[in-house]
């Protein structure tokens, strides 16, 4: 059976799939690919089932060597792809002969690229998923140089298209549609206006748990502590002091600060591709 030998991981590479469902009552979050859209596309290009695990590569820097012939696809943030030093395309079926080295450079835009392998990365699942939850410390260990990532059996279906055109991923300024709530009543009218009138900037203290945002203060209309309550990805949580956090895939299952608004599901992949320095404009979603 073929495998991928990890040579370098860049700032952060993790194994991800569609996440863990049904364990939230035990305090286990969903995790999974932060940009579920690019993850799904990478699998679709290779005719993998949607739940096949891929490598989520943050700001490039991944190098792997094919052990045996391997078919791959790279999607998401436009990372420069090279196979044995020669340029290759994103969103395309790529064949790696035994021993070939694939490297991903730093993307000019966006944050997370996805390397899918035909057959899926076949590390043992934990609670029904191969996703690494960096907050909970659950799932496969972070890949390290020297690791051999096993590849599962190829699906029966064959890839149908050699290349799939996509909308560009990542931008200097992005628009995210949000709906106020569940705790908009913990904030003043002025905070509601500020949320929609001003720009927020993603700070370097961002990770798979959430994008931390710098921007104008969102003023509370009441004091006191909110009893901890369940959180969803896309929640914009506003701590008493400090930066608001836009929760992503590895967000805590419950949180004790009020959520002023939640990003609609369709815009979560856009939020996941907002690298530090990206300006975010929130717009009302109806």
């Amino acid at each position: 059976m073929s495998s991928l030998e990890v040579l370098a991981t860049g700032p952060m590479s993790t194994v991800q799939d569609t996440g863990r469902f049904g364990h939230a009552a035990l305090g286990v979050g969903r995790s999974g690919a932060a940009d579920a859209c690019s993850h799904a596309l990478a699998n679709r290009i290779l005719a993998n089932p949607p739940e096949a695990a891929t490598l989520e590569v943050t700001l490039g820097g991944l190098r792997v060597r094919a052990r045996g012939p391997v078919t791959v696809a790279v999607t998401g943030a436009p990372t420069p792809v090279r196979i044995d030093g020669r340029g290759a395309a994103l969103n395309e079926v790529l064949h790696l002969p035994d021993g070939a080295e694939l490297s991903l450079g730093v993307p000019a835009r966006g944050l997370r690229s996805y390397l899918a392998v035909r057959g899926g990365i076949d590390v043992p699942p934990v609670l029904g998923s191969r996703s690494t939850d960096v907050l909970a410390g659950l799932g496969p260990a972070l890949p390290e140089p020297g690791d051999l990532l096993p590849i599962g059996p190829a699906p029966q279906a064959r890839p149908l298209l050699d290349h799939v055109p996509t909308a560009p991923v990542g931008a200097d300024e992005v628009c995210l549609r949000v709906r106020l709530g569940p705790r908009e009543d913990w904030f003043t009218e002025r905070a509601h206006r500020t949320l929609f009138d001003d720009l927020f900037e993603v700070t370097p203290r961002s990770d798979r748990v959430g994008a931390r945002l710098a921007g104008p203060a969102l003023e509370r209309s009441r004091e006191g502590e909110l009893p901890s309550e369940g959180m969803v990805p896309g929640s914009l949580q506003v701590p008493t002091r400090g930066e608001p956090v836009l929760f992503l895939a590895d967000h805590p299952v419950t949180g004790g600060y009020p959520v002023i608004a939640v990003v609609c599901a369709a815009d979560l992949p856009v939020a996941a591709q907002a690298r530090p320095g990206t300006r975010i404009r929130f717009v009302q979603w109806r």
Binding site: F21, G22, H23, A24, A25, L26, G27, V28, R30, V126, L127, A136, G137, L138, V178, R179, G181, P182, R183, P227, S228, E229, G230, M231, V232, P233, G234, S235, P252, V253, T254, V259, A261, V262, V263, C264, A265, W285
Partner: protein
């Protein structure tokens, strides 16, 4: 009951008290609502997480029709006993907050029956409520950057058991050698919602 929206990814149901949380959680376990992937009970709320394309308004309407029967509260078969070394760094502070002595705190903590109301914070971290109303302490003013695995701690009306080392702001009462989270076990969590817990002083 008040139903709050979380865009199109969730429905947050706010109820009067923890008994209603447990009742609603139990009702949703018995009769799951279509389109709901996860149920997250917490202190005063139950969050329903939705699968893509589910209409939150439909789920909101369905959940308001669920009767919150008072008699389903805190009903479960399982009881676990957890031996505790009551040597926590905050034991003296806890005793002072409760207007009591460390010895009396230990006696009352082991005399009470605790029930896991919900999990959160970390996998396997159960929030346990007791039948002794005296146990109410604030969180520490400043959180510790590292609370050791196995710590038994208090905050609000809850006792918690840290399944692994993590930052934490709870008041440390003691520690246990009981492993509360083990992925080799099915289910991995010892402290699941509804489980009753007795603490005893470790020898």
């Amino acid at each position: 009951m008040r139903v709050l929206n979380c865009a199109d990814t969730g429905v947050l149901v706010e109820v009067a008290d923890l008994d209603q949380v447990i009742a609603l959680g139990a009702a949703l376990e018995t009769a799951p609502l279509p389109g709901v992937t996860d149920v997250v009970p917490a202190a005063r709320t139950v969050l329903l997480r939705l699968s893509p394309g589910t209409d939150p308004a439909g789920v909101a309407a369905a959940v308001t029709r669920i009767p919150l029967a008072a008699d389903v509260t805190r009903r479960t078969g399982e009881t676990v006993t957890i031996p505790v070394h009551y040597d926590g760094e905050d034991l003296a502070d806890i005793a002072e907050l409760l207007g009591s002595s460390p010895r009396e705190v230990v006696r009352a903590h082991t005399a009470a029956t605790w029930t896991v109301a919900f999990c959160g914070f970390a996998p396997g971290f159960g929030y346990m409520v007791g039948d002794d109303p005296r146990f109410r302490v604030p969180r520490r003013a400043e959180a510790r950057t590292r609370v050791p695995k196995g710590s038994v701690a208090l905050a609000g009306e809850f006792t918690g058991l840290y399944p692994r080392s993590s930052p934490g702001g709870w008041q440390l009462l003691g520690h246990t050698d009981v492993v509360s989270w083990d992925l080799e076990r099915d289910p991995p969590g010892l402290l699941r919602p509804g489980v009753r817990v007795r603490f005893e002083e470790a020898a």
